[in-house]
Amino acid sequence: MVDLLPHILNGLTLGLLFALIALGFTMIVGVMEIINLAHGSLFALGAYFALSMLGGSWFGDTAFGAWWLSLSVETRYVAALFVGPLLAAIAGMALELCLRPTYGKAPLYGLLLTFGAALVIEEIIRLGWGTGEQNLAIPSAINGPVLVAGFIYSKYKFFAAGFSLLAIVAVWLFLEKTPYGAIIKAGAHDSEMVRALGYDLSKLRLLVFGFGAALAGLAGIVMVPIWGLRPHVGVDVVIPAFLIIVMGGIGSFWGAVAAALMVGLAVGITGAYAGAWATMSMYILLIVVVGFRSRGLFGRKSVLEN
């Protein structure tokens, strides 16, 4: 039983990060009724943007670049945590603009377009940052081993879990306590209604896409030390995101969080018994959940079924 503990902790950490990804994903689906196959690419972009920021490669040999690199890793990391998601949000909004011509058409076109975008973004990443494995410089304060219940665990994973939890709570507060959040929630429920109430639906969609992308990008940055960073790291993200909303229900906040924790735990525990197959367990879980049941675990017919 003690042997399982690190894997359970891994699973929970992963679950919290998945929740972050899934929340952005479900908001987009709720407001726009499309599955964003490029969500994983936005996740990856966030990470790569942070990589460039931290390493200062964009600023090159300029004076600004030199000053930037003179700052402590901590400062640069925190800055990257803000700017990376922001840039991902911009990419997300650009994607939403590209998607506009497909609204009202058969779902196939939105599907193909986001699929194409995913491949295009992956190619951009390959060209811009190379095809190899990369590493993100992280502050020493959150790096390194820590002793937990008699075995060695990673400090970073605690940071990742804690940070994700804070982010989730922040998102919840935003949705529940702010007027913008209320509009997004209403939009997720019934976008026509929102328009009837006088809100600009296109602006709402743009913002929701940007917000969802920012969450994905943020998760991307935090995930790097856990999952590594390669051009196709985004591929492994869409499947759990989709699985989570199938299990937790579209537009359901706590449903997504609960399902995310379950998926994360499944991955973590698989890691205990069949290490290499941990990530594959997500795919197999999707196949089991969607392949066997006619309508996911909760049996509700959704906009996804055309």
Binding site: I35, C98, P101, T102, P107, L108, Y109, L111, L112, L113, F115, G116, A117, A118, L119, V120, E122, E123, I124, L127, H232, V235, D236, V238, I239, F242, A276, W277, T279, M280, Y283, I284, L286, I287, V290, G291, S294, L304, E305, N306
Partner: protein
């Protein structure tokens, strides 16, 4: 917009012209390819991908089932061929049969899981299965050679009624591949014009109505998946011969995405020959544009996205429109009232 459901012309001549043109182009390829600055191996690649694409379009265009993980079946065919040569016997027909069978079997298993669905659930399941196959091929070192794949796959000689032809030369392999392509075209052409093919198209348009007309819908969807997987397997077998190796990368989402892009851009959603055009465009882009810039694939992807928005009917659709305009025919929206009907009755 024209659609795959349009009735083909009854005139026998128009039926066979494109097939004859293709046959001639293939027969004389070794001569005209070099004159346009291309090389013989390209011919092999193009014919292989055309087989893959045409089989894929039976599922994607005709049945309207969008699989984003089809590279897996090409890969399985490649591995099966290679393993057959290494473990069983050095045999061309045995290897190709193994490739088709293995891919078909995988398709049958996966198909059983997914054929009760359609749309986004279907697509995501195909992605999931594709990733599982890709991952498995990377991990099973003992069988698949892991990340490096199977190397040194031989090209077995072609034996035919006692005669033996070596396939070591690219030219010979090209002719074998071209022959397989022609066979593929003939089989698929008959298939899509048969009742089976029309039912697939009916399913694409309205599954409910098909069900209430008495059809076991999921069986047809399953069959379409298996058939398309089998053609992918054939392509895979030829592929492993061409490259003399089989590796996991063909099963990746990236490769699966390429076939989707080729088929759509070419016009697979509206015309039988769409996939053929798409494959040609892809390889021309790769070799011509690729000679100029490293970012050619990015441009191809962007073009794909643009076409999804602006010209989902693809090249085949655009050619059809241009051809009609040239003939001064009426608007494309009612092309069928000008079709001659059967038994000489006037419509």
């Amino acid at each position: 917009m024209i659609s795959l459901s349009d009735i083909p012309s009854r005139s026998t001549v128009r039926h066979w012209v494109p097939i004859a043109v293709l046959a001639l182009a293939l027969a004389f390829a070794p001569w005209w390819l070099p004159t346009v600055g291309l090389y013989q191996y390209l011919g092999i690649e193009i014919t292989i991908w055309m087989i893959f694409a045409l089989g894929f379009n039976l599922l994607f265009g005709y049945a309207g089932l969008h699989s984003f993980g089809h590279g897996a079946y090409l890969g399985i065919g490649a591995y099966a061929f290679g393993l057959f040569q290494q473990q069983v016997a050095v045999s061309l027909w045995g290897g190709l049969a193994a490739a088709i069978f293995a891919a078909g079997l995988a398709g049958a298993v996966v198909g059983a899981f997914i054929s009760h669905r359609r749309g986004i659930y279907y697509a995501l399941l195909t992605i999931a299965f594709g990733q599982v196959f890709w991952f498995t091929s990377m991990k099973l070192h003992g069988i698949t050679g892991g990340e490096d794949g199977l190397l040194g796959i031989p090209r077995p000689p072609l034996t035919f009624f006692g005669l033996e032809f070596s396939l070591r030369d690219n030219l010979a392999l090209f002719y074998l591949s071209a022959f397989c392509l022609l066979a593929t075209v003939l089989i698929l052409w008959r298939l899509v014009h048969s009742p089976f093919g029309r039912v697939l198209q009916a399913l694409r348009q309205n599954e409910t109505r098909a069900r209430f007309a008495g059809y076991e819908v999921w069986r047809f969807k399953w069959a379409a998946f298996v058939i398309s997987a089998m053609f992918a397997g054939l392509a895979g077998g030829l592929f492993s011969m061409a490259q003399q190796s089989a590796y996991p990368d063909v099963m990746s989402l990236h490769q699966s995405g390429l076939i989707v892009m080729m088929v759509l851009v070419g016009g697979g959603l509206v015309g039988f020959w769409g996939p053929v055009f798409g494959v040609i465009l892809y390889f021309v882009t790769r070799d011509v544009l690729g000679g100029i810039t490293e970012t050619w694939l990015l441009w191809f992807g962007l073009m794909f996205m643009a076409m999804v928005i602006l010209r989902p009917e693809g090249l085949a659709g655009m050619f059809h429109l241009a051809w009609n305009r040239l003939r001064g025919a009426r608007a494309v929206s009612t092309p069928l009232t000008s079709e001659p009907d059967l038994a000489g009755r006037k419509t």
